[in-house]
Every structure is written in C-alpha cells, then in structure tokens.
C-alpha cells in the first residue's frame, strides 16, 4: 500500500451512518495517511464531525468499516471497538464544544491524558507512597513538557471551568497531546478565537505535526488557515466526499465552490 513506514494510518471504507431517517454519512471512503496534515472541510452539516465521531468510536457506522493500521503494521477494526480502546491505539481528539473536566485543574485534565500510559489501581492509588508515587512523578514530567509546549504554566493550577475560552481550547489540546497520539483529531480548534489566538493555535498544530511526528486531522471553517497549514484537504457535502487533493486543487474545485456558495456563483472564485 502507499503507507509510509512505521506510521499509523486510518482507512474508512464505505462508511454510512444513519440516524433513523437522516443519513449523516453516505458511503464515505477516505484515508488518513500517517505523517500528513489532513484537513476536513465542508459546509455545516456536511458530516465532518460525524467522521471524527466514527473514527473515535462515539458513533458506530451503520455500514462500512474503519481500519487502523498501527505503527507495527497490525490492523484494528475501529468500527467494532469502544472509544477507550481506540484511544489506547493512539487516536486522540478534541471537541468542537470544549469537553473538559471542568471542576479539575488544568494540570489534572492533562494528567488524565496520560491515563492510558499509566498503571496503578485502587489499592496502589490509595496507598500512594511507593510505586504509584513514582509513576505519578514520571508521567507528571511528560505532562509538564506538554504544559511547557503550550505555554500553560501560569494556569496549570487553575480550575479549567473558570478559564477563558481560548485557554480552555489549549488545555483540551494539551490533554489530547498528553496521550502521545499517533492520530490527533481536532474538531474546529480555531472556532471562536481571535486572530492572535488562531495564529498561535495554527503554530501549535504545525509544531505537533513536524516536531512530534503526530498526524493531525483538522476540521475548521477558517479557510485561510486551513489552506495554509494543511497538506491535503478532503471536502464533504451532505455526508459524501466531493473532493480530495492538495489545498489549491480543492479550493479551485467547482463542486467545492458550489457547496460553499450555491449554484451560479462559481465565477465569484474560491472561498476566502
């Protein structure tokens, strides 16, 4: 196949998702290639978030398969696994409507990202001193690296429910990064941010991709940023893939322009 060595990748084959009479996804076939920076675009209701929800196991496809080939080359049928097993395979995500543990500190939220990598049960936790303390310290060091990377030092002890929106988004990104994911699904990481915050978020995504070797999959409506940072773009409309390719090609694709602007407006040029 066309996969780069030692990188996890995901393959959706004929994924259809129906809720009663509503078809959210119809026969979606797409690849997430290990090592790339992929963007998913499309108008509201196109099914972008549904794709992420299927990959992370929150929705189960009505038809079709989702396969993850891990770094060691083993194949896993994601469409049959519960979300926590998928997370263990190295798939992390953020949500469009920030889903943090809002009564906890930023630090504890990000520590939870280490859950799958840590060991320790009720007994060792309750006794604490000894092995569990050593484990907590070891993983705390990784968490501090994430905090350092995202410049979250000043707020690490803050209760996240009280933090401003932009910082909550960063904490959520930090929690996903703490998993050391192979695949990082980001659902509208730029939504609701000012241009300065957008810029630093875009920077973080690029750094995660380049320095940490993670494969980000980004959904967003900010075409400028998306076209700027992504290597490949997949466009969805009404639950179907309508275009796929390098950003410039997808941007110029008549069907994509039509999807965003409606009929007869093709002359207006690409969305900006």
């Amino acid at each position: 196949m066309n996969e780069p060595d030692g990188r996890a990748n995901v393959h959706l084959d004929g994924v259809t998702l129906r809720f009663g009479g509503v078809t959210a996804l119809e026969n979606v076939c797409l690849d997430i290639r290990g090592g790339e920076l992929l963007a998913l675009i499309g108008p509201n209701g196109a099914g972008k978030t549904s794709v992420l929800n299927c990959i992370s196991g929150l929705y189960r496809p009505t038809e079709g398969t989702i396969a993850l080939r891990d770094a060691a080359g083993r194949s896993h049928a994601l469409h049959r696994l519960p979300p926590h097993r998928i997370a263990r395979l190295g798939v992390a995500r953020t949500f469009q409507s920030i889903e943090l543990f809002k009564h906890m500190t930023a630090l504890d939220n990000i520590m939870l990202g280490r859950h799958v990598h840590m060991r320790g049960g009720v007994l060792s936790g309750g006794i604490f001193w000894g092995p569990q303390r050593r484990r907590e310290i070891r993983h705390r060091m990784r968490v501090e690296e994430v905090i350092d990377f995202l410049n979250l030092e000043p707020i690490r002890r803050a209760i996240v429910g009280n933090l401003p929106y932009g910082q909550q988004k960063l904490v959520e990104l930090g929690r996903a990064l703490a998993l050391d994911p192979e695949i990082l699904l980001l659902d509208e990481p730029l939504a609701g941010m000012n241009s300065e915050e957008k810029e630093s978020m875009a920077r973080f995504i690029l750094d995660v991709h380049e320095e940490w070797g993670t494969t980000p999959v980004v959904i967003d409506h900010d075409m400028d940023v998306i076209m700027d940072i992504s290597e490949r773009v997949i466009a969805l409309e009404f639950g179907q893939v309508i275009a796929e390719g390098p950003p410039a090609d997808v941007r110029a694709n008549p069907r994509v322009i039509e999807a965003y602007l409606g009929h007869g407006e093709a002359a207006a040029g690409p969305v900006s």
Binding site: H84, L100, L112, E136, L179
Partner: protein
C-alpha cells in the same frame, strides 16, 4: 501543625470524655467511614446511590454471621465483609451502564429494598426480623466493643480510610473517577473505560460502606435490619451534601453534624423537661423538621457544604487582621 493538634486532641479526648461523648465520637468515626465511602461514589464519581443502608447491612450481617456461624476472628470477618459488600456494590452498580442521575438513584433504591427483604425473610441465615447478637471483638485480651476500647479502633480505621481516599484522588484511578463524573464522553475518548470505572467506584465505595456496617455490628453487639433502612441511606446522603460533596473534610464534618444534631436536640429536650415540658414533648417530632431545615439552609446558602465554610473561615483568618497576603488562596 494543625493536623498535629487535631491528632493530639484525638489522643487525649477519650481520657477526658464521659462515656456519653465517647459513644458519640465512636458513632462519628463509623459515620465518617460510611460517608467517605458514599462520597467516593456520589461526590467524586457522580453516581447517586440510595442503597447506602443496604450496603451497610451487607457489611454488618456478613461480618456478624461469619463470626457467629463460622467462628472466624473478628478482624478476618470484617475484611471479608468489606469484600463481600464491594461485590454486592458492583452487582447493584451494573445498571449504571445505561442509567444516569435520578434513574440510577431509583435503581439503587432497588438494592435497598432487595437487601432489606432478604435480611428479613431469609430467617435461617440472618435470623429475620430478630436481632443478631454479635460476639465481642477482643484485642490483646481487651474487649473492643466498650466505648473506650472501640474508640481506638474507630479513629484508626476512620483516619486510615480518610488517608486512603485522599491518596486515591491524587492518583490515576481517582482522577478517572472524577473524569467520569465531569464529562463521561471526554473520559471515554482519552481512554477511560467509563463503565469499568463506574463499577470500580461502586466496589471501592461499597468496600468502605461495608466496613462502616461491620463496625456498627461489632460496636453495637446487636444488629437488626431496622438499623439499615432507607432512612439510613438518606441520612448518609445528607451527611455528604451538608459536609461537602467530593471532599474528605466534608465527609467528616457532615458525619459529625448529622450524628450530633439529633443527640443535641435530645439533650435540649432533657434540659427542658423540668422547665418547659410542653416543648420537650414536642422536640422529638420536631427533630425531623430541624434536619430538613438544616439541609435546606445548606443548599441555599452554602451548596458546597461545611467544607467550603471551613475554607472561607480559613481564608478569612489567613489574611486577618492585615490583608497583606491576599490572593494567595490556599
């Protein structure tokens, strides 16, 4: 320092206190263990349980019957009772796969009813509605079910439970409990097995609730089902709500308040017997109302409970009389 003072007070207390106060202290120790257990489930993990009385009954009857019928030493049967209660807790936690909030609460009410029914009807095993007499526990030849003897057992176990709980919630499993409470979907996508975690919370919680039940049996010498009714479940819920959900300190404060309140009302009643017998006669019936009022007042004025009040007072004196260290928080 403050902890040292508190421990010192605990050590001196039994030598100064009358049996009346020792008895209350022992009740508070047991209630603290039970409240910590319930708080693990309700306060920290967000799974409302109305089955506290039932789980305490399981702990009490298991430990009592193991000693009585099989002749096991009291220490062994208490530990066995804790594990038995944990298993029963897991069983009645199974509906939490599908049910949340009030719906789960109602399903745990089933635990209460079923256990109560089993205890009162399985006469061959439990003695039914008759009380079970529990052999006195002994340590180094000393009877532990005297007020003085039990005090030491009570505070060691209550302190141990508090320490265990505090440690639990600064480590991996405890964090996953709170994650399930705050946002179960987010918990699942970062790799927390939500259902497994809920069952683990039921097990851990019930373990300590079972301990509280077993201690009740050994302290009281006599147990009967009437000690573990639905009212017990409600009282314990009141403890953790008034004390503070999801806090260790709150479990202790709540246990103390809810234990002392009726005793104090009773005391006032006795004092008034001579001077105002009419009011004294009224008090027992007012007791329930006072309870209700206290809980309502807490929900209105300090929803985070006594634990928050304590923090407020501490914060106040932290900067008193000069506000030069403001903003440091705790």
């Amino acid at each position: 320092m403050r902890l040292g003072l508190f421990m010192g007070a605990l050590l001196v207390f039994p030598f100064l206190a009358s049996p009346y106060w020792l008895n209350l202290a022992n009740q508070i120790a047991i209630a603290t263990i039970g409240a910590l257990g319930l708080n693990i489930l309700v306060g920290y993990t967000g799974q409302v349980s109305l089955g506290q009385g039932a789980f305490m009954a399981v702990g009490a009857y298991t430990s009592a019957l193991l000693t009585l019928r099989l002749g096991l030493p009291w220490g062994v049967s208490i530990v066995a009772a804790c594990f038995a209660t944990a298993a029963v807790g897991v069983f009645f936690g199974l509906p939490s796969l599908r049910l949340k909030g009030l719906y789960l609460a109602i399903s745990t009410l089933a635990a209460q009813e079923i256990v109560e029914w089993v205890v009162t009807h399985w006469t061959a095993l439990t003695g039914g509605v008759e009380a079970v007499v529990v052999p006195a526990p002994r340590l180094f030849g000393q009877r532990l079910n005297t007020d003085f003897g039990f005090y030491w057992l009570g505070i060691v176990l209550a302190g141990g439970t508090a320490l265990f709980t505090a440690n639990l919630f600064r480590s991996r499993i405890g964090r996953s409990f709170v994650a399930v409470r705050d946002q179960d979907i987010a918990a699942s996508v970062i790799g927390v097995n939500v259902f497994g975690t809920k069952l683990l919370a039921f097990a851990t919680s019930s373990f300590f609730v079972g301990l509280a039940g077993a201690l009740t049996a050994y302290y009281r010498n006599i147990i009967s089902w009437e000690r573990f009714t639905f009212e017990t479940s409600i009282l314990y819920l009141a403890m953790i709500i008034v004390g503070g959900l999801g806090t260790i300190r709150g479990s202790l404060f709540g246990a103390a308040l809810i234990t002392l309140l009726p005793a104090m009302i009773g005391r006032v009643g006795q004092e008034l017997q001579g001077s105002a017998p009419a009011i004294a006669a009224l008090l027992p019936s007012v007791q329930q109302a006072v309870f209700g009022i206290v809980i309502i007042l807490f929900l209105v004025f300090e929803p985070e409970g006594l634990s928050k009040l304590w923090r407020n007072v501490k914060d106040y004196f932290y900067v008193w009389p000069f506000a030069y260290r403001r903003g440091e928080g705790r």
